[in-house]
Each structure stands twice: as structure tokens, then as C-alpha cells.
């Protein structure tokens, strides 16, 4: 099974770079938690701000963990090391390679998110994290792994990966319902930001952390985050996956 071969490759990479991966996954989220969560203590929607912040940071860590696990790696493999050639000529069906990358990337995102949950677990917040939380984290990771795949197929140089990170991931980290509710944003922009996957993931993880499930909606302003968020994430996953398949099967010059 080609998926297992890719997962083995990812696991080998994870074992080798365990400390680097772990530190990279933790530094920014921890800084945000310390500065915004503990340094500037305030309330949001009548709750301690930390209760709003932690689900946002978990979603963000999942996103950046998954994205960086795939984007940098694939760009370097395709454009610098040319290691993708090894996969292209192998009998492993290319869809399995893509699925392996998505799952592997998502697991890395899940790991980053879980580390945040672990580190914040001693804080008495009353937040609920359960199977649904992990499902959303995994799904969010899948969306951003696939997004990273699409971008790495579009990259013209392996140095494009950090640029994508700066232009797309960093703005999403701050704007997508992570540090503050998007209610105060101007009209059209607000709808646009709300439709982005990280806004939905943050909203859903926050809803679960407050209610224990997606049945009880968590409403910030006009936006309820419930089951519809899952469909939105799935829609992104389907679109990005299809694009990845088109690229790997049809792109003339990989």
C-alpha cells in the first residue's frame, strides 16, 4: 500500500527531527498564549479570554503544523532534491501518494494541537476537549495539508514555501477567529474571513469546548458554529484534493 510507504517516510522524518518539529510547533502558540492569555488578561463573551484563546491557538497550531509538514517538504522534494521523481516512476499509484501526504501532514498538525492541549491542561478553564475536538483538528489538518500540496505543485522555486506561509498562513493565523471574534470586521470582509477553513475550525473547536458537542451551537455575533462547519471543511478538502490529483496526474512538467 503506497499510503503506508508515504506514512513510513513521514514517520522516519518525525523521529529524526522530533525535537526540531516539537519546538517549532510550540514556540509561536506558546508565545501567543503567554502574551495574550496570561499577559493581557481580559474577558470575551463573558468568559475569561483564555477560554476563547485556547481553542483558537489549538486550531492555529493544527493548521501551521500540517501546512509546514507538507509545503516545505514537498517543495524541496519536487524542486530542489528532485526526490519526487522517485515516487513518480514507482508503481505506487499517485493518488495514494497524495492521500499519504494528506494523512501524514494532518497527523503532524494533530500532534502540534495535542501538544498545546497538553501544555494548557493544568490550567483550570473548564473547557471540554473530546473526540469531536480531535476530529475537527484532524480534518483541519487535512485541509491545510492538501492546501500545502496544491501550493507546492504551483511553486516555481523551493523558496516559495516560506512566501506562501508569509502571505497566506500568517494572515489567517491572526484573522481567522483565533485571537478575536470576527464580529467587529467590516461587512464583506467578515463574510470572507468566516468562510475560510481556519475560522470554521476555530469556531467548531470553541463550540465543542463550551458545549461538549456541535449540537449546542456556539454563537459569536451573527455566526453559529455547528455542523455546517464540518461541511465547509469537507468542501475545502474535496476541492484541494481534486486540485492535487489534477496536478500530479495532469501537470505536464512536475
Amino acid at each position: 500500500m503506497g499510503i503506508l510507504a508515504v506514512l513510513w517516510e513521514k514517520w522516519t522524518e518525525f523521529k529524526r527531527d522530533f525535537y526540531k518539529i516539537t519546538v517549532a510547533a510550540l514556540v509561536s502558540p506558546l508565545l501567543y498564549l503567554i502574551v495574550f492569555g496570561f499577559g493581557i488578561q481580559t474577558t470575551s463573551h463573558g468568559e475569561p479570554y483564555l477560554n476563547f484563546l485556547i481553542p483558537g491557538i489549538v486550531s492555529m497550531a493544527t493548521m501551521t503544523g500540517s501546512f509546514s509538514a507538507v509545503a516545505q517538504n514537498m517543495s524541496v522534494q519536487r524542486l530542489y532534491e528532485k526526490a519526487l521523481d522517485q515516487v513518480m516512476i514507482s508503481p505506487t499509484p499517485l493518488w495514494q501518494f497524495i492521500v499519504g501526504q494528506i494523512i501524514g501532514g494532518s497527523l503532524r498538525g494533530l500532534y502540534a494541537g495535542c501538544m498545546i492541549l497538553l501544555l494548557t491542561s493544568p490550567i483550570r478553564t473548564g473547557l471540554i476537549f473530546n473526540g469531536w475536538t480531535f476530529l475537527i483538528m484532524f480534518l483541519n489538518g487535512m485541509v491545510f495539508s492538501t492546501f500545502a500540496l496544491v501550493l507546492s505543485f504551483l511553486a516555481k522555486s523551493y523558496t516559495d514555501a516560506p512566501r506562501y506561509n508569509a502571505y497566506l498562513i500568517v494572515p489567517m493565523s491572526f484573522l481567522c477567529n483565533t485571537f478575536f471574534s470576527i464580529d467587529q470586521m467590516p461587512g464583506g470582509f467578515r463574510q470572507f474571513i468566516n468562510a475560510l477553513p481556519l475560522s470554521q475550525a476555530s469556531g467548531m473547536i470553541r463550540a465543542i469546548s463550551a458545549n461538549g458537542s456541535l449540537d449546542g451551537l456556539f454563537v459569536t455575533g451573527e455566526y453559529p458554529y455547528g455542523w455546517a462547519g464540518l461541511l465547509i471543511l469537507l468542501a475545502y478538502l474535496v476541492v484541494f484534493s481534486l486540485l492535487s490529483f489534477v496536478f500530479i496526474y495532469k501537470k505536464k512538467n512536475l
Partner: protein
């Protein structure tokens, strides 16, 4: 059998491979010779499906070789010009990843890795990270990886580029041994003596167009088995002859021919007789004269 049918690859306006038609028989050691930018690597990249043709197709044993053709791809291994592997993996991991991508069993991967790394003297370096290997070692590892899966077809893109003379000879011996097992080998190389020493047939390719295709001996015969090099201060010219007698007769005319140019040139000209090589064929056919200006 590999068939290239009207194979064409364009990059924008530039045609890298231009309507190439070629058949390579099973078990053949085939060389693709051409100058830089001739289209050799592009052809290999299309054979390995990294690049898709703009037009035409590749058939392997009568079936189209595409990115979806897993059964056909199973038969092929490629050793690229660049060290196309994860630089952060160890030698052993590179081999294992290859085995896994080809659905080999764990025990088989272990056995084959041991065997190939021993064969190429890399066994003591198996735990080394690829980026810390020398160029020659990386090249050997590429060969090991290529042979890991017992392919029917091996694509070699400049396999001895950057190797010293001894390592290159060792690689030739290795490739000959492999070819004895009836593996089809397609080789691109800049080294004409390499193609002459190894290939059953060679094709000359230039600016994407395929030229003559024949055995090195036949190509040399067609040009003339004997060459006379006439070296003057400002030019080097080679003249080819079918027989040694003709070449010697020509040699005897050289002093007077050179003198006809100028007395000074004649005094500095010298000529020598030698056997024609594939390099001569390449230079003559590709049109790059051995002219020193």
C-alpha cells in the same frame, strides 16, 4: 520493448524533443548521445513520467507508459543525473523507501539492501545521512536504489557524471554485469568512450531531433575506421578513411598540402593516424568541428 512514437516535448516555444521515433529491444543496452540541451534528459524524464509529452506516446511492451500505468512503471527504474533522493535520509532509509514504494516485503528489502550495499562497498556507510556522502558514493547509492527492485528497464541519465576514471570503470563493469541479466538499459552520456564500451546501439540526438541510430561499430564504419588528424597552428582537422592504406596514402600527401597554405604553417603542421572513435562520429554528425580558434 520500448517504443517512442512521434514523441514531442515543448517548453513554451522551445521544442526540446522533436517527433522522435525509436524502438529499443528487450535486453538491449542503448545509448542516447547528444550535446548539452539536445533533449536527452527530457527524453529520460518522459520515460520516467516526470514530464508528460506534448505529443506522441511511449509504449512499454505494447502498453502506453503513463502516470497511471502502475504495472508498466513497476518494470522501470531510473537513475537520474541529479542525486534525486531525500538528502536527510540515511543510506538504509533511502533503500527502504524505494522498496516500500515498490511493495517489496520487509525481509526482501533487508536482504536486497544488504546485497547491493555490499556489492557497491556502501555497506559500512548505511547509517550515514545522504548529504554527508561523497559524490561518488551518492552515485553508487543511486545505482543501488535503481537495482533494488529488479527492474526490466533501467534508465541511466549520465550515470558516471563527476566520477573519476577508476570509479567510472567500476561503474561500467557493474553495468555490463547488469546487462548480462537481460535487463534493457537506456543510457545518456557525454562520455563517448562510455557509450562505445557499453552500448549495443546508440542514437545521436541534437536539438531534439533524432539522427542516426546504429551500433557504435557501424557508425564508425560509416564514417571511416581510420582517422588522420592534421594539426596546424590555427586549426585541427580530421579526415576519415575506410582503409588503412587510403589513410597512409593521404598522410604522404600532407606536407605538400600544408605547404600550399603557407611556408610558416607547413613548418608547424603535424599529422597522425589513429582509429576512428565514436567521439569522431559524434563530432562530425552533430556538426561541432574540432576547430581551435
Amino acid at each position: 520493448m520500448i517504443e517512442l512514437k512521434d514523441l514531442t516535448k515543448k517548453f513554451g516555444e522551445q521544442t526540446a524533443v522533436d517527433h522522435v521515433n525509436l524502438t529499443i529491444e528487450t535486453g538491449e543496452f542503448f545509448g542516447l548521445l547528444g550535446p548539452n540541451g539536445a533533449g536527452k534528459t527530457t527524453t529520460i524524464s518522459m520515460l520516467s513520467t516526470v514530464l508528460l509529452p506534448t505529443a506522441g506516446e511511449i509504449l512499454l511492451d505494447g502498453k502506453p507508459l503513463t502516470r497511471r500505468a502502475s504495472a508498466e512503471k513497476r518494470k522501470i527504474s531510473v537513475i537520474t543525473q541529479e542525486f534525486s533522493m531525500r538528502q536527510d535520509m540515511t543510506v538504509q532509509e533511502v533503500m527502504e523507501y524505494q522498496g516500500r514504494l515498490y511493495y517489496m516485503k520487509k525481509a526482501e528489502i533487508r536482504e536486497k539492501t544488504e546485497q547491493l550495499l555490499t556489492f557497491t562497498d556502501l555497506i559500512d556507510h548505511r547509517k550515514k545521512t545522504v548529504r554527508y556522502l561523497s559524490g561518488g558514493m551518492k552515485r553508487k547509492l543511486m545505482v543501488c536504489r535503481g537495482l533494488m527492485t529488479d527492474p526490466d528497464v533501467l534508465l541511466l541519465d549520465e550515470p558516471t557524471a563527476g566520477m573519476d576514471a577508476i570509479a567510472r570503470r567500476q561503474m561500467w563493469a557493474l553495468l555490463r554485469r547488469i546487462n548480462n541479466r537481460k535487463m534493457t538499459i537506456i543510457l545518456t552520456t557525454h562520455y563517448m568512450e562510455e557509450a562505445e564500451a557499453l552500448c549495443d546501439r546508440v542514437a545521436l540526438i541534437n536539438k531534439g531531433k533524432l539522427g542516426e541510430v546504429d551500433s557504435p561499430a557501424a557508425l564508425i564504419d560509416a564514417l571511416g575506421k581510420y582517422a588522420v588528424d592534421l594539426v596546424t597552428e590555427d586549426d585541427t582537422k580530421s579526415v576519415y578513411f575506410k582503409t588503412r592504406e587510403e589513410a597512409i596514402a593521404y598522410l604522404e600527401t600532407i606536407p605538400s598540402e600544408a605547404a600550399a597554405g603557407s611556408a610558416d604553417a607547413a613548418s608547424k603542421a603535424h599529422a597522425s593516424l589513429r582509429n576512428t572513435t565514436l567521439e569522431d562520429v559524434f563530432v562530425e554528425r552533430i556538426g561541432r568541428r574540432l576547430t581551435v580558434r
